[in-house]
């Protein structure tokens, strides 16, 4: 079972701010879903290599060719706030 404190902790890790109602709802819903995950405990996975990907691709090599990137103007066009060639954000430290 997970608690409201667990939900608060996870929300903080995920950089989400939840209302009191949301905390209550998510505690209940996530609890039910996580309980459902528990069926996996019955499966013996001793010594089984975890599978992180559908393909067994390791290093993908390519030719080291010079290409022209789109340039910062086009990428900064979508920025919520900018200053010259930089993304502008609220203050980071005191």
């Amino acid at each position: 079972m997970i608690t409201v404190e667990d939900v608060e902790h996870v929300a903080k890790l995920a950089r989400l701010r939840l209302s009191a109602d949301e905390k209550k709802l998510y505690t209940e819903q996530l609890g039910k879903i996580i309980d459902f995950f528990a069926e996996l405990n019955a499966i013996d996975t001793t010594g089984v290599e975890p599978m992180s990907h559908a393909l067994s691709v390791t290093n993908v090599m390519r030719e080291d060719e010079v290409e022209t990137p789109p340039g910062h103007e086009i990428l900064l066009k979508s920025a919520p706030d900018r200053d010259d060639a930089f993304f502008r954000v609220p203050k980071i430290g005191d």
Binding site: R17, L40, M51
Partner: protein
Amino acid sequence: MAATKNELVGRSTGDLRKLLKDKSVSSVEILRAHQDHIAHLDKDIQAFLCLTPELAEKQAKNVDAMIARGDELPALAGIPVALKDNMCVPGYKTTCGSQILKDFEPPHQSTAVTRLFDAGAICIGKTNMDEFAMGSSTENSSFQPTYNPWNKSYVPGGSSGGSAAAVSAGFSVIALGSDTGGSIRQPASLCGVVGMKPTYGTVSRFGLVAYASSLDQIGPFARSVEDAAITLSVIAGHDKRDSTSLSKYSFGEINYAKGLKDSSAEELVSGLKIGIIKELNGDGIDADVRKTVQETAEIFTKLGAKVEEVSIPTAKHALPVYYIIATAEASANLSRYDGVRYGFRDENAEDIVSMYMATRSQGFGAEVKRRIMLGTYALSSGYYDAYYKKAQQVRRLMKDDFNKVFSTYDLVLCPTSPTVAFKVGEKTADPLTMYLTDIATIPANLAGLPGISVPAGFGAQGLPIGIQILGNTLSDAILLKAAAAFEKTTEFHTKQPPVLLAQGK
């Protein structure tokens, strides 16, 4: 005699190609017919989030110029296509169904989209979807729900519900969707069209907004298997911009449509051994759907295939494995929405951490937050081994189960969706009930296998039922052959929903 407008809607790529080559119609006329149809009827279906008339006009005129010059026409010349709104097209918004991207105009174009456009396809518009492809009904779009063209009280499935509905309703000839846990195949089943998730790595994910990177795959929707195969042939292939795309040596010749039209159904399934997955054809699957699986098996037997029951013991655990792995990957992928570089930002925050939290809390909808938190939980200290690592281990066991079956069988059959389309609002209150609708589609994503859903019957309220065919890695061509054989032997794909029948009246 020039074809009238309403005769241009609901046609196959082959029909339209012939009309264009004969010069009986122009690409612009085909476009207009589809635009008129959308203008009259999409208000009831709400398949599209935005239309792209400027781009479509330019593309159609370009095709007409090619015809006038007598140029060789590329594979999809003049064919109207709809794109799920998680694929980037510069000049238009890519919202992913989310408030956090509601004004986002991408600087880049998806490779799959570029390949469609290079093949002469005409971009009709961007289709509705569950926010960040998280959902099974397209009710989780933050902009609008989409309704099932067969009956507007029912959902079209999801998350690519807009693309499925667009093809079903005749708003476009083909469409692209993305499939992470069934998001192409399930809505195809519920809307009575063909939908295919190719082998993982077949279609580049460059320019596709990421949900769960080890599972996401782009694929086609169409009203026939041949049109799906033609579309897949256009979009498949290695892309250096996606390091998980298969190398060109994996593919051989990319022509999935080869032989589909000219071979008989018997020739197409000759020598095939097909398994019916026991674990996905029992409890939790509606009687109507199980009957359809049985009837499909009989048809394949009649055509000369050897059909037997097979076992994938781990398939019944696919759901928890998926909802751990997909949400874990999503929690990492969606950390990029921080209000710094693009998308929505809350302007009132005093410092950067408050800005992140305010931005994300307002920008994401309830299901997206739920999945981000689930994934964060599964990856967090103290729980990683119990959830994430465990899920990855069961994923390996499932892949091993499939490998074992595919050492004897060429293909396997199972339902696409456990039920026909459900009512709008029926499953929105309980997330777990909604997750259960993906039970039969998820195994293919976890194992990276190709899967296709084809119309195979009608159930309650006359709503469509799809059958799912899965194959081994890179057996996409065999899958399409079997699907085409089934289509040649049955009439289900020829039935049209009321919305398509109503066009032009």
